[in-house]
Amino acid sequence: MSDQTEILYPPLPPLSKWLPVLLLAWIIPGGGHFYLKRTYRGLILAGCVVISFALGLMMRGYIFQPAGGDLLTTVIYYGGFLADLSTGVLFLMTKWFGYESADVAGHVVDYGTKFLVAAGLFNILAMVDAWEIAVGRKD
């Protein structure tokens, strides 16, 4: 049997090395990549998140609030809230500037809501990517 064992992932570096990157990536879309000097990738990711979020706001999309009820309602409202929250400063700005939109029926508003959620999901992917770079699992 060979002595050499294949190491799929290097050991996790200390928290102080990757936590600031993860927080920065959450607060500022693309921020983790900028911090890690992956400027072009950061710009593409930030652009997708910000433009998607801006389109969602311009279509008067609904910002989810955590709400319980039956299982489907809970999953949609908590999931939507987490996705909205993932946009970091963009979500916080909607709160600071008092953005409000009613959860009403209508295809434009509905598209807006989806764009807001999609922006959050894009930023989660960007956060994971930045974390992987910070811990050395990706270049």
Partner: protein
């Protein structure tokens, strides 16, 4: 400022963003990212047009 996009415009924009983000985060080199992004966007377009025609013909 308010905006009202059509089904088609919304779908195309969402496809563009998804392709770009997935290309950036899933691939290792710039060449692979560009190729993945373009391929993914192409498949999105094919699906959009395919389903649109299917719905149009299904409602005739």
């Amino acid at each position: 400022m308010k905006m009202a996009l059509s089904h088609f415009e919304t779908t195309i924009l969402l496809a563009l963003f998804i392709s770009a983000v997935l290309g950036v985060v899933t691939k290792k080199t710039d060449k692979e990212r560009l190729r993945y992004g373009l391929t993914s966007f192409g498949y999105f377009l094919l699906t959009i047009f395919g389903l649109s025609w299917l719905m149009f013909l299904g409602h005739r």
